[in-house]
């Protein structure tokens, strides 16, 4: 008889993961066209809170504070947010194949960003447009499922698929009107995802939203577990299904849309990471939430380091996550099917 391996494994796993993330965080500063030594990094960071004699070049400080820090922390937060959204949607929709853009967020945001780009919008305008259209897409999906008169989740997911396709069609329309020399490439690159454009202001915007959303999801942790058994059973166990479901969808959507608006569409993270996390810590949502966040942050930061490390060509981040994510998922699929046969 197996013991409850996850209860023992979980704290160890989270500790190891946190240490790995911290090490990767420090290493990440070394990568790029301007390497920064660890002791200089430490002194620069410490100088913000303590009195330390400045012996470094002001460019070094500028790079650390304005370029590396936003990009590295954004990488962690975006990866973490997408993974947590994925984990939440999967549990809520009782479907392991669901990814954070299932309700149409990414398609809406992609259209919004492209629309802003052909109107020569600034970076801020592009972001806001992506954000608004991402939210609009989910709102439309919600309305469709409301109008249909059923409250079941399948209708909502189907409506999300419809809305996704609709916005993708609109995106194609925008692309055909785009100027092929400058606008079309920038739209294409945006759609492939990149952390390169993120700055300190983005960081300031994303931090509170991610923090609040994760806090709300954590408060709902037991309710989300119960919801994964089905609406009626959840109701019989005293859950106000509509309220909890709405809260989870709003939090997950917000985290996804803010991530997408900053770095474009980054596929596979939100789908694959929760699966790997579940393999290590089990299905319980409270554990899944924490593990997915750490793993997702680690994964995306690692991918972004590869993007930055390969100096010859800047591979788009979204493409790299898909390139790595799909084979990993294939392996997971084979493993889980084999496991089932043996069980």
């Amino acid at each position: 008889m197996k013991n409850d391996k996850f209860s023992i494994r979980f704290p160890i796993f989270v500790t190891i993961l946190s240490i790995c993330l911290l090490i990767l965080f420090i290493i990440s500063f070394q990568i790029g066209s301007y390497p920064i030594e660890a002791n200089v990094l430490l002194d620069v960071l410490l100088s913000k809170i303590m009195d330390i004699r400045v012996y470094w070049d002001s460019t070094v400080e500028k790079i650390i504070m304005d370029v590396r820090i936003p990009r590295i922390i954004l990488g962690i937060l975006v990866g973490g947010s997408l993974s947590v959204s994925g984990a939440s949607y999967q549990t809520l929709f009782k479907n392991p194949m669901v990814s954070p853009d299932i309700l149409g967020v990414s398609a809406g945001a992609g259209f919004g960003a492209a629309l802003a780009m052909i109107n020569s919008g600034t970076w801020a305008e592009i972001q806001i447009s992506a954000l608004l259209f991402g939210l609009l897409a989910v709102a439309i999906a919600y309305l469709i499922s409301k109008v249909s008169g059923t409250s079941d989740i399948t209708t909502f997911v189907l409506a999300g698929v419809i809305v996704s396709n609709f916005f993708n069609a609109l995106l194609s329309v925008v692309k055909t009107y785009a100027d092929t020399d400058s606008q079309l490439p920038s739209i294409t690159f945006w759609l492939m995802g990149s952390l390169g454009k993120g700055d300190t202001e983005d960081l300031i915007r994303i931090v509170p939203i991610v923090f609040v959303c994760i806090a709300i999801l954590f408060i709902c942790r037991y309710y989300i577990d119960v919801l994964s058994t089905g609406d009626e059973e959840a109701m019989a166990m005293g859950i106000n299904v509509n309220i909890i479901r709405t809260a989870v969808i709003i939090c997950s959507t917000l985290m996804t849309v803010i991530s997408v608006s900053i770095c474009g569409t980054i596929g596979w993270v939100g789908l694959v990471i929760p699966h790997i996390a579940r393999m290590f810590v089990g299905a319980r949502y409270s554990r899944l939430l924490i593990t997915s966040f750490l793993m997702g942050g680690f994964f995306l930061l690692l991918m972004d380091n590869i993007v930055r490390g390969v100096s010859t060509v800047q591979l788009p981040l979204g493409v790299l996550t898909s390139l790595v994510g799909t084979p990993v998922f294939a392996v997971l699929l084979i493993r889980s099917r084999r496991g089932k046969e043996n069980a």
Binding site: K2, N95, P96, Y222, G238
Partner: protein, 262 residues
Amino acid sequence: MLEIKNIKYEYKKGPLVLKDISFEMDKGDCLCILGPNGTGKTTLLKIILGFFKPLAGSLYIDAQNLSEITPHKRAKLIAYVSQSSNIIFPYTVREVILMGRTSHLSIGASMTSADNSIVDEVMKGLCITHLQYKYFQNLSGGEKQMVMIARALSQQAKYIIMDEPTSSLDYSNQIKILNTIKQLSKAGYGIIMTSHSPNHAFTSCNKVLLMKDGYIMDFGSPEKVVSSKNLTKLYNADVGVAKAILDDELFTYASKVCVPII
């Protein structure tokens, strides 16, 4: 005391499913609802559980109006064992049973050791402690049903509603579940179950409700209600009720059994 008064219900733009349903039962009673398919048995259960709002009528538990309380409070009064539970993610049996404690949590709080010891007790009572670290999704149908009952018990509600608790089980597991139901009603739980086998009324219940076309055909003790005349009318088929007296080397036992006349 669970009181159901003049419940009416219709599905959207459809005919009335439940036309006028009233009955009472107490803690310690085990009520078996019998009736052909599509007669509104499951609908009635779902109304009692609060999934559907009745068109008219009222429901009370110990003089508390069920339509006026939150799902949270209702869950402390009534628990539910569904026909079959489909949990996709790899939750362990222990985690599934612990879910029954959710209605006792205040917002944001964690499960305590008290919640865990209630789960321990429930598992021990149903003899399923050995399953606790197995994945729910890998269990057999009978084991799953026992875990679902355990989850309902950990909710600590005095009334438990079971929708065809034996429907997809083999014979030995059916007997196991029926036996468990009998023990629970002896322990003071009020149980409402639906069934397609009128024999279940004799094996574990002390009250029977016959439902046909949205009305109550008859209500009372199994001895009185489950008769050849009633069953033949209920199912539109010839069904007789016979006395079975066992007196052999294994058993000395007297009961009634329903026999289809074919």
